[in-house]
């Protein structure tokens, strides 16, 4: 019951965040001292074309009217029409979001699979060579600019070694799998299409590594710090005194307690991956939301910018929700209301 109440409160919270975000984004995007009609039609458009365009997109109405119309549209499931692509924003998001989701999930998976053990290992071997290595990797992960890292990764993995393709989601001569989730890897598995699976995985690896490196370093650092704290606690000494094997002490007793801050970081990282993959997407020609958002912002494409912002506004609280659910699982005290 407690959980249901909690969930309901969270959903209301998300709705409130969305209203707030939509008002702020709408206001900010409309105080930019540039005309979206000029941005869309370009240097050569005649004044008459500009006027007609502004009318067509309702840009000639008072700001409040525009906002009310926009919200009415959202309530009817209509996110408006993109000024730049001239398509429904919802269709654009449906096209581009799965690519970003697939990339972000892969980056998160890498962070989890590499960052977590690295953090644990580093903490257990504190001061030893593994710890030094992990700390250097963490430091590099936190300080290397992603565009630089991306170019190095593509330069080595594609250009020098030729092990991986240079960009895109799938080979041009391999048909993408039928869309079910929009995630090529998942859809390929669902369709039993090995060609598509192989091609989409190979395309995914370099951008996922690039995007995931920063998160891996973050997770490793956080895990290391909280593991160090856990390992110094009394209950660990007790566990060891009971004669438990060191592996059980580390992975079951220490890690479980150390996971809470890491899970928090993972949730936030995932949300930021969703909205911040633009550089990786550009370098790897990845047709995702980040590039769509940037192109939309540059062309003052308000409906598209609003659509992306709202999506991000949902992603953050949702990620937090998942994190909170994980807390319930990780920490029995939360379940008991302790």
């Amino acid at each position: 019951m407690r959980f249901v109440t909690y969930l309901a409160r969270r959903v209301v919270g998300i709705a409130a965040v969305m209203v707030g975000v939509s008002i702020i984004t709408f206001a900010i995007s409309h105080v930019v001292p540039a005309d979206p009609a000029v941005a869309a039609l370009g240097d050569h458009a005649t004044p008459a074309q500009i006027v007609e365009f502004r009318h067509q997109y309702g840009l000639d109405r008072p700001l409040v009217d525009q906002y009310v119309l926009y919200v009415e549209g959202i309530l009817h499931g209509d996110l408006g029409t993109s000024i730049r692509t001239r398509r429904a924003v919802a269709d654009d998001l449906r096209d581009f979001f799965p690519a970003t989701l697939e990339l972000s999930l892969s980056a998160l998976l890498i962070a989890l699979l590499l960052g977590l053990p690295a953090g644990v290992w580093s903490a257990v071997r504190r001061g030893g060579i593994p710890d030094q290595v992990v700390r250097v990797v963490i430091l590099a992960g936190g300080s290397l600019p992603i565009f630089w890292l991306g170019l190095i990764v593509i330069g080595v993995g594609y250009f020098q070694l030729g092990w991986f393709p240079g960009g895109g989601r799938i080979d041009a001569f391999v048909a993408p799998p039928p869309t079910r989730t929009g995630l090529y890897v998942v859809d390929s598995i669902l369709a039993g299409d090995l060609d598509a699976l192989s091609s989409s995985l190979r395309h995914l690896i370099l951008p996922a590594v690039t995007l995931g490196y920063f998160s891996t370093a973050l997770v490793a650092r956080m895990t290391r710090a909280s593991m160090l704290e856990s390992l110094g606690q009394d209950y660990i000494r007790t566990a060891r005194a009971k004669g438990l094997r060191e592996r059980v002490v580390v992975w079951r007793h220490a890690l479980r307690n150390a996971l809470i801050p890491t899970v928090t970081i993972l949730g936030l990282t995932f949300a930021s991956l969703l909205s911040g993959a633009v550089l990786t997407e550009t370098i790897f020609s990845w047709p995702g939301l980040g590039r769509y958002a940037t192109a939309s912002a540059v062309s003052l494409d308000f409906p598209a910018v609003m659509g992306v912002t709202l999506l991000a506004a949902v992603a953050y609280p949702l990620a937090n929700l998942v994190v909170d659910i994980a807390y319930f699982w990780l920490d029995p005290r939360i379940q008991r209301g302790g």
């Binding site: 930019v32 001292p33 540039a34 005309d35 979206p36 000029v38 941005a39 370009g42 240097d43 050569h44 005649t46 004044p47 074309q49 730049r84 692509t85 001239r86 654009d92 096209d95 581009f96 998976l109 699979l113 593509i154 330069g155 594609y158 250009f159 030729g162 092990w163 991986f164 393709p165 240079g166 960009g167 895109g168 989601r169 080979d171 041009a172 001569f173 391999v174 993408p176 890897v185 090995l194 060609d195 699976l197 192989s198 091609s199 995985l201 190979r202 690896i205 992975w251 079951r252 890690l255 479980r256 550009t282 370098i283 790897f284 020609s285 047709p287 590039r291 192109a295 540059v298 003052l300």
Partner: protein, 539 residues
Amino acid sequence: MSRSHPLAILLAIALLVAAACTTTGTPGASGSASPSASGGGQAGTLVIYKDVSDLISLDPAVVYEFSGTLIVHNAYETLVQFQGSDLSTLKPGLATKWETKDAGSNWQISFDLRSGAKFASGNAVTADDVVYSIQRAIKLNKSPAFLFTDIAQLKPESVAANGANSVVITLPKTASAQGLLSILTFTIGSIVDSKEVKTHETAGDFGSGWLLEHSAGSGPYIIDHWTKATEVQLKANPNASAKPVLSSILVKHVPESTNQQFALERGDADVAVDLSPQQIAAEQGKQGVTTLKADSLQLVYVGMNATVKPLENVKVREAMRTAIDYNGIVNDLLKGNAKKVQGIVPAGLAGHNADTPFQQDITKAKSLLAEAGQDKGFSLELLVPTGPAPGGTQWSDVAAKLQADWGKIGVTVTIKQTTQAELLTTYRAQRGQLVLILWGPDFPDPDANAGPFTDYAAKSIAFRNGWNDASIADKAKKAALITDPTARNAAYKEITDYVLHNGPYAVLYQPSQNFGLRSNVKGFAWNPMAYADFWAISK
């Protein structure tokens, strides 16, 4: 936590990676890891790496972006055309013969259609298709429609069939017949298969929703598919009269030029479109790669708002022009990746004025300022777009060079850099002081530049710079209507000479465009109107 979970996950990932490493893909396929000796893609496919983020539609009545033009040009035929990189000799397209007649207050241009021409659907190309296509573009009234409605002053009823194989277009004598013929070579002049398009019409959209990503033309290729933000593929049209050498063209969206360069060197790309001059220089002499330098019709210029003091004084403007080190911009900043052009009509178009009277002369510029009573100097704001400028430098670098040059004559310039959208909003409202920007003609005719640069009433460039000179605007309008090429060129010489010294512009350069090609690619010729004839390319 059970230990079997991480093991299971690791096993699943290992399996996935194993699947990834299985070489099931097509050997040498574009984007694949294995380089292909014969160039990118499969045999018979030309793979072009290009930033196509400007692509919003493939409907010829809507498309007005560079990437869209490139694709649409190859899927449709026009009545008349320019071939290769030439923009001076009209060649037959769907029309084998055309003739302009003086019909009192109008021009009448009649076109005889090529017999036996077929669309990709197998339908014959008829006069009705031509009428439908032109009327469709006018009625849809999208971005390029003004070329028909404003420049050529056409109305839907201006075009009529004269039997099954002949069409007559009537335009008022206030418009230029030569200008219309030039417009007809452009993508808006594409002839669509009216029978096919009509079957896809919904809610009076003239089939625009369907043509957004399909084609219905008689050109050498048909649009096979467009995957948004990923690629466009063209396949040979079996019914085309001009049979293409290559059976398929793949235009891949690759926004990052380093990635384009990698793919070109590895042989995954046959053509890389967006390489910087530095990358082009790096490619020279590399095995298996060649480079091509082609013209554009763009002009990079500074607009000087003549309503802003002291720019209203023609001597001050002349001093500003005289202070600029044009050679430095072209040779040092752009590494020769541009032509020194100072007139308002670019090289490559009829009416181009090859005179370049300006090169930095500080003494002369200072004396001009003194004559204008401005020897103490003055301060102005220079609006500059963000990002890369044509020719392969940054807008900010060109601006910094100008700032330094003008500083030498006591003119203090503050650079204000904004997005192009914001800059244009200010510029169009006549609120700029000095504005660094570019212009490219809408159709390959001198009128496409002479009009905007001289006619204040057209609310284009002359208006934005507050330059209202009715006599020169009138001369430009008259020049557009001259039918005799020699007389027309003479008229443009007079106009461009006048604007050179009296106008509110400092034209800085005409950028070139560079391409990286695999050396086995033959027949790639870039037209300055931003397209290439794919059918003529082989590899």
